[in-house]
Symmetry: C2
Subunit: 407 residues, 2 copies
């Protein structure tokens, strides 16, 4: 038998992150891994020796099918930043000791930017100490902000969710035929991919949203108010998508303008919330229009009941490709998605040095934002539309989607 | 040819209100209505002679299928209270003049309590002036608070949506394995049916929510905080469902406790929002735990992508039954749903005098609330579970559910 594999999930969950877990699990098994362990709550849990043997929990192919369709991280997640190995070698010694005890040959980490930082540090440390464990990154983030991959698994389903609810919010907002402004707050701290996805709602059967405020552009409250004023004079049911991460010119987040101070997480990121509420109040005060705020909140990242089949399939593929690459001897890499064509949509996987990915952020290209700064171009839509195609229906039991979890 | 029919939609939209519209339209057509008009924006629009001939918009059976699956009110809605006919006969004379001009024999209004008030007033006025127009109410409200009907179309799909997202929020809330409290604000001003539906999430594959605060019980912030404190010491990822309409003992809404004054709508109802946010801040300040607020907002009423097949079918049936009853000579009535059995679930329709419905509110029975006041009993679940069964999948086109609307 070969060595064992271990896989972890890190950072914010998505609707399809468990499809990547299945991809790693099945490919590692079929390539001869004796056991495939799962870290509970990522590296943080592993450091406390919290792990499971996945075979103890996945009993048959129905479990596998349900796991693919279960949103949020099956193994649990963490927001844990590995220390600088120069300053804290002990953490690395402990971690590699645990990996040795478990006879691990292959280490997979499914996550975003911060998770790729973990893979970079661990593979560097392995090289420095002569460990032959293979470390592979599997991309995951609804934010779509990873470098060297055309897009990230998780984005397509979140974008589809946003397209779906923006259509529904548009229908709802027009119901009374009276002036109203709905401001919808979308996730994406520094990159406006998800906020831009609101533009997908526009179609033969939907008027679409009226304004899109991306974090890539400085936000001018006065300009915003005058635009909203003009819009609500033209039509009933104005709908606006705004990123949680929009900032005014001096660098403050819009959600901080009400005087509240932002809190920070383990990576020093400010906790953002209340942008839409602040802007709705601002519109109400300045224009006197009826304005409501909707935060899509965690619903947009855990909406397992609306997944893109393209996305969930690619999530599975990158997991499998990571296992293949590791078993073929690669380490310190992330699997990226490479788009071959838009129409017909074709996409394959490739490997990238983890150091070209960790700690960078991919933003919406300037030329994909309309000159007025409040919309996205047809090129953005041609990019995003293939990623929301087709559905993978949940398995409904007694009226609700069936999930699987570790009790 | 017979006389014409007219149908309107009123009050807050639902995911299945257009299925009732199709029910009325098809049954009225098949019973010989020459034309079936649709009021734009209910009675308010009709008074401005805003109406359409539905045949001009529904060209084939695919349009009909898509209309059934389109959330929000296809014809537009209104929140308009008819005046007291003793004080303002002119409005009634105008309205009946328009109905006469359109050669209307049958008038259908799809809505909730306030809409049934409209039917009551119009049928009373018709009796007083000797008009033979038949006035029928078709029940609709996600709030499930209408009298004399086992439940209301719209409730089942909203309850299913709430069950689905509560499962997803539960999965998401447990992902880090660290203490966190998620407070989810659910619609339902005075009746806790929808908030109670959060209990549906608990199943073999889901831990379920930890506390349910219904508006039927006075809300005690101190007791709430001590319960939350106890819960978050026992487990990671506490999830709480709270009605937007919870009030403290002195009658103030919880969302008013931050000092903001409520606004009122045309029916004198206070606009409620911010309950979950207030309580999350309260928990954070008093316990120091990580607490987040999620408002399900309009997503719970316009979620056409998650409908209950039982609900959407019954919505269609009550529309058809209303047309049948009107064409058979009934007036001043609402179609109610009468449950025959829970297991197997069987349900039929019956007629009720509109005066026994308008302006009453049906709350969750006291005996269906647990003695501690923070949960619902198995009887509640036996009542609600049949209503969320099975799905009617949207027709997806280019990645998003297809809708139909009047341009």
């Amino acid at each position: 038998m070969g060595k064992n594999a271990i896989v972890g999930q890190s950072g914010g969950p998505t609707a399809v992150i468990n499809s990547s877990l299945v991809g790693v699990y099945q490919a590692a098994k079929s390539r001869g891994a004796a056991r495939v362990y799962g870290m509970r709550h990522g590296v943080r849990g592993l450091l406390e020796e919290q792990y499971v043997d996945l075979s103890d929990f996945l009993h048959d192919n129905l479990d596998i099918e349900i796991l693919k369709r279960t949103p949020s991280s099956y193994l649990g997640s963490c927001r844990y930043k590995l220390p600088d190995p120069q300053k804290d070698a002990a953490t690395y010694e402990k971690l590699f000791g645990i990996l040795k005890k478990l006879d691990i040959g292959y280490f997979f980490y499914i996550g975003g930017n911060d998770s790729m930082d973990t893979i970079a540090k661990l593979s560097d440390y392995a090289a420095a100490v002569g460990s032959d464990i293979k470390f592979m990154g599997v991309p995951k983030t609804i934010d779509n902000d990873l470098m060297n991959t055309d897009h990230t698994p998780g984005f397509g389903s979140a974008a589809k969710y946003i397209g779906v609810v923006m259509k529904e919010i548009t229908r709802d907002g027009l119901v009374y035929g009276t002036p109203s402004v709905t401001i919808v707050e979308v996730m994406g701290r520094n990159a406006g991919w998800l906020t831009g996805a609101a533009a997908l709602a526009k179609a033969e059967d939907c008027e679409g949203v009226d304004m899109i405020c991306l974090p890539e552009r400085p936000f001018d409250p006065d300009h915003f108010i005058s635009r909203v004023d003009a819009l609500q004079k033209q039509k009933a049911g104005v709908v606006i998508a705004v990123s949680e991460g929009v900032k005014v010119a001096d660098g403050r987040y819009v959600c901080e303008l009400d005087g509240s101070k932002g809190k920070t997480d383990a990576f020093g990121h400010c906790t953002l919330t209340g942008t839409a509420r602040y802007l709705a109040n601002l519109a109400q005060q300045n224009i006197g229009c009826k304005a409501r705020a909707i935060e899509l909140s965690t619903l947009q990242r855990c909406g397992g009941h609306v997944t893109s089949r393209v996305d969930i399939t690619e999530a599975f593929q990158v997991g499998g490709a990571a296992a293949k690459a590791a078993f073929e001897g690669n380490t310190g890499m992330m699997v990226g998605l490479k788009r071959i064509s838009n129409d017909p949509y074709q996409c394959t996987t490739e490997l990238h040095d983890i150091h070209t990915i960790a700690n960078f952020e991919k933003k919406v290209p300037d030329e994909w934002i309309t000159p007025d700064g409040i919309g996205v171009t047809p090129e953005f839509l041609s990019y995003a539309r293939p990623l929301i195609q087709a559905e993978l229906t949940p398995i409904y039991v007694d009226g609700l989607p069936r999930h699987i979890y570790i009790k």
